[in-house]
Subunit: 233 residues, 2 copies
Amino acid sequence: MNDFIDLFDEFDRRILPHHLTDADILRLRHQAFALHLRAQGHVDFGNPEDHFAYIAKGSVKLVAYLSSSREQIVAFGFPGELMHIPGAGRNGFSLIALEATELLAIPAASLLAASGKDSTLLRLAIEQTILALGRSRANSIMLGTHSARERLAGFLFAMFERGARHRASPETIRLPMSRAEIADSLGLTIETVSRQFSEMRNLGLIETSGRSIVTIRDWEGLALAAGQMPAAA
Amino acid sequence: MNDFIDLFDEFDRRILPHHLTDADILRLRHQAFALHLRAQGHVDFGNPEDHFAYIAKGSVKLVAYLSSSREQIVAFGFPGELMHIPGAGRNGFSLIALEATELLAIPAASLLAASGKDSTLLRLAIEQTILALGRSRANSIMLGTHSARERLAGFLFAMFERGARHRASPETIRLPMSRAEIADSLGLTIETVSRQFSEMRNLGLIETSGRSIVTIRDWEGLALAAGQMPAAA
DNA sequence: GGCTGCCATTGATCTCGATCAATGCGCTAG
DNA sequence: CTAGCGCATTGATCGAGATCAATGGCAGCC
């Protein structure tokens, strides 16, 4: 399983703090496991245990299943990111690959339990959780107060900031998710998302090519559309 | 300052794990500070540092200020709860008292830094943060997929579960927040919240008395209105 | 205990986004 | 290169909730 070795090595270099002892690293290596998902493949961490997932290649969505028919996308995950994945609570969660994806999963509980004396790993975990909390609260604010235009503009900004995939030029990204997935993450319908894309294209804010290539033509206009106040403070 | 002594003592008894060493407790006691807020009084933890707040008496709202006029209530806090309060990020947060409130604030960063060898405190912090993350994600799901009726019904359930204030009978609570505050937390307007209250009253699901006393008359009907699936799974 | 101001309720209308319904087009297989 | 399917786009209509506008009633104050 060279895959696992390579994956873990990358994780060690890019995420773990540099001053970890070999013992810590060995401990982690024992708890982690590599996963390869093809497009639309899903992992269901059924047990009530939380996990962390380091995304190496590809991209994923974290989906909450409701009693109703509709599903809500709670977060996206891109290469280089460490996601927090809740165990099953009131509503079940699933991690679903948007495209072929390689990731490293680590049970949160054993990570917490394992670090007896040294708290470096704990600190890493809490930092990531606090980041996720911040993103989730930002999401709540968006869903609670923003219009469809503001949501899509904000979404595009977020995708650009997180580097999305296959950046050809600094203004262009390829979105790995479908319109339906964008809609589910923004609390909108496919049609509304599509209409917003068209209107923003007509306004000269963006250009699109094919189904998933987006180029930003007017950063200031897009920021305005996203609801960042123009002047004042 | 007997207030502080009493507050900290209560915090120790009700929240802290029982096996903490005296050294740990002393360390915490040094970092914590008591706050007394009158109704509408606010604390602005301006520094970019996160805090934890133990609510002893009263109730609070955690508000995100947007560039726009509208504000979004991110969480409520009730007695006995330990809230996570984000430092200023993209949007500023404020903790505002709904009524006269006593609370104990603890800087998260120094709590993390202080626990050198022992990781009990860290574990406490991460547990609370993960709880908050779960609540926030549930909130996202509500805002992204639920109707006004479902939101208010769900809100009432949550208030009952968290014991709200001054429970006269098991079916009756006093809501310490105004209609405007309910609306801001649910992503609705005052008028819609009011209309939903009236309709639910007409349907015989609830009874109201004065501005803030609510009695549940039909638990099953309310659960149905909240969107918990009737039969099936 | 009456006054007064704020908050909640109720009504009328409007608007944004959902829904229903075709049509168009990019991507993949063959 | 072509065919065909699935996703995206566009159009028409509907409806939930926002907005605008009065009215009603609870609570704090003199």
